[in-house]
Symmetry: none
Subunit: 192 residues, 4 copies
Amino acid sequence: MASKENKRDRIIEAAIQVLSKKGYHNTKMEEIAVVAGIGKGTIYEYFPSKLQLLQDILERSFYLYDHSIKADISNSLSAEQKIRRLVEAHLRFCQENKDLTRILFFDTEIIDNELRDWACQKRRLKEEHMQLLFAAAIHSGEIRDLDTKMLTIIISGIFSSFWVPVVIEGWEIDATIAAEQVTDIIMCGIKR
Amino acid sequence: MASKENKRDRIIEAAIQVLSKKGYHNTKMEEIAVVAGIGKGTIYEYFPSKLQLLQDILERSFYLYDHSIKADISNSLSAEQKIRRLVEAHLRFCQENKDLTRILFFDTEIIDNELRDWACQKRRLKEEHMQLLFAAAIHSGEIRDLDTKMLTIIISGIFSSFWVPVVIEGWEIDATIAAEQVTDIIMCGIKR
Amino acid sequence: MASKENKRDRIIEAAIQVLSKKGYHNTKMEEIAVVAGIGKGTIYEYFPSKLQLLQDILERSFYLYDHSIKADISNSLSAEQKIRRLVEAHLRFCQENKDLTRILFFDTEIIDNELRDWACQKRRLKEEHMQLLFAAAIHSGEIRDLDTKMLTIIISGIFSSFWVPVVIEGWEIDATIAAEQVTDIIMCGIKR
Amino acid sequence: MASKENKRDRIIEAAIQVLSKKGYHNTKMEEIAVVAGIGKGTIYEYFPSKLQLLQDILERSFYLYDHSIKADISNSLSAEQKIRRLVEAHLRFCQENKDLTRILFFDTEIIDNELRDWACQKRRLKEEHMQLLFAAAIHSGEIRDLDTKMLTIIISGIFSSFWVPVVIEGWEIDATIAAEQVTDIIMCGIKR
DNA sequence: TATGAATGAGCATTCATTCAT
DNA sequence: GATGAATGAATGCTCATTCAT
C-alpha cells in the first residue's frame, strides 16, 4: 500500500521531471519509466494513459498551487496585504516547484480538448476569486473604483509574468522583498 | 507569380487557422492542405517541412507584431503616452489577428531547440527594449526610481495577460479606452 | 523532326549520365530533365515512363554493345583470333562508353520483372552465341574437348570482370595489348 | 534471450528471402515483417533502419563467404590446389546460400555511399589477397610470369561468373568436379 | 504485481506522373 | 510541342498501448 502509493508518486515525480523539460509530445512513456526506475508497462498499472498521467499531474499541481496561494490569506487582512501575500506565495511556489511551474504555466500546446477546457475553467475560477477580492476592496474603499475584470487581467498578468525569469532564467530573488516591491507598484503605480 | 505568392499565402493562412486551433503536434499536413484547398504534396512545393512552415509563420507573425507595436512610438512621446500606445497597439493586434496571436503567445511547447532559442531571443529583445524605455523614463524623472528588470517583468506580464480574454473568450473592448485604463493603473496604481 | 530526334537523344544522354552515376532508384526524373536542359514534363513526350526510359537505354546499349562486339568477327578467323577480337572489342566498348557500361553491367537491382527477364534472355543469347563458337572450335580441333557451357561461363566471367577496373577505377590499358595477354592466358593457361 | 536471438535471426532470414527476390528498393519493411511472421514495428526493435538491416546482412554474408573461402586454404598447398579449393568453396557457398549469394553479388545498385565504399573496400581486399597468391606462385615458379593485376581480374571474373547459372538458373553441378575442370582450364588454357 | 517484447495505427515526406497553360 | 505546378499513392519509422510471462 505504502509501496503502491510510493510507486505512483515515483512515476509522477519522474513524469514531472521529464515533462517539464521536454513537453508533452516530446516525452516518451519509456523515458518516464526509466527515470522512475521501473518498467514501461508498470506506468499503465497506475495511469490508464499518457494523457491521464498529464491530467493527474496538472490537477495535483493545480491543487498544490491553489493550496499554497490560498492558505495564506486570512480574511482579516487588508487588500494590500492580501495582494502582497499572494505575490509572495506565488513566487515561493515558483521557486520551490520549478518543474511543476513549468508544466502548469507553460501554457502548453492544445493537447486535448477536455484538458483545455479544464485548464480554462481553472483559470476562470482563479479569476473569479480574484475579482471578488477586488470587488470587496473597492466596496470597502481600499482601492479605487476600477473595472474588476480589467483589474483581474492586469494582476493575473503580473503574477504569471514572474515564473519565466524565476524558473527559466534562474532569477534568484527574495520572495518577501520582491512581493513588497510588486505590491508597491500595483498599489501606487509607477508614476513619480 | 502572383498566383505563386497567392498559393503560398493560402497555405500560410490555412496553416495559421489549423495550427492556432489544434497546435503543432495535432495538426496534420493533410489537414492544412484540405483547408487550403490543395493537395498534400503542394505544401512541400512551398515549404520544405512542417517545422519550417511553423517557423515561417512565427517569424512572419513576430515581424508583423513587432511592426504593429513599434511603428506607433515616436520618441517625442512621454513614457506614459508610450505605454498607452503600446498597450493599445498590442490589444489591437490581438483583436485583429486572433489566430496569429494564439500561435505567437500560446504555442510554446518545446517543438524544436532552434525554434525555442529563437523565441527566447525574441522575448529577450523585447524585454531589453522595454527596459531601455523605463531607464530613460526614470532618468527623465517621469517615473519613480524602480528596478527596471522588475518593472519590465510586470509590464510585460500585463501585456501578455490580455490576449487570452480577447482571443479565447472573445472579449470585445475598445482598444483605446482599455489602453487608457490600463495605463492609468500602471501609472497611478490601484490604491485609492 | 531532326529536332525531335535531337531532343530524344538529349534525354537519353542525360539519363545515361545520371543513371550511371546514381542508379535507377536514386535518379529523379527532374534531375534527368535538368541535365538535358529541358522541362520535367517534356521527358514524358518522348518516354511513357521512367521504367520505359531505362528499358530503352538498356536496349539501345545492348544493341550498341552487341554491334561493337560482333561486327568485328568474320568467320574466316581462328577461334583464338575471334576470342582476341572479342576481348579487344569488349575492352574498347568499356573504355569508350563508361557510363553505358556501368548501366549495362552494373547488374542492377531487380527493378522490374519484365526487365529482369529481358536481361536474362539477352545474357542467354550471348552465351548461346559463345557456346556455338566454342562448339565449332572444338569440332575443328582448335581447342580441347571441354564442356562448352562451362567454357562459356568462364570466358563470360573473364569478359565482364574487366569493366570494373576500366570504368570504376579508371584503369588505362591498351585494348590491343590487353586482349593479347588475356587471349594468351585463355588459350594457354597460367601454368609454367 | 535465446528467443531474442531467435527473432533477430528470423527477421534476417525473412529479409534475405525478400531482399534477394525483390531487391532493396522494392522490398517493404512490412513485407519482411509478414514473411517473418511478426509485426512491422518489431523489426525496429532489432534493427534501427532498413539500411542498417541490409548492412547487417551484407556484413554477415560477407563474413560467412570470406570464412567459407579462406578456411580451406592451408599454406602448404600448391597454387593449383589453392585455386581448385577456392573455386570449389565458392561454388559450394553459392549452392548452399542462394539467396545470400544473390544479395552479395547482385544487389549492387548504389543504395548508400557508405555502403558502396564498404563494398568497394571488401572487393579490393579480396583482390589484394588474390594478387599476393599469384605473386607468390610466380615467385616460386609455379605459374608463368604474368601481370598479377590482370591475372587477378581474370580469375576474379571466372569466380563471380559462376553464381548466375547456379543461383538463377539452378544449375546443378558437383562442386568438386567443376572445380577440377575450371582449375584445369585456368592452369592449362583451352588450346589443344 | 511488474515487466518489456510486440504491435500497428498514424504521419511526414517523396517523387513519378498528369494536365492546364 | 513544351512546361512545371499540382498531385496523392506509397512507405519508412515512431511510440502509446497491450498482454503473455
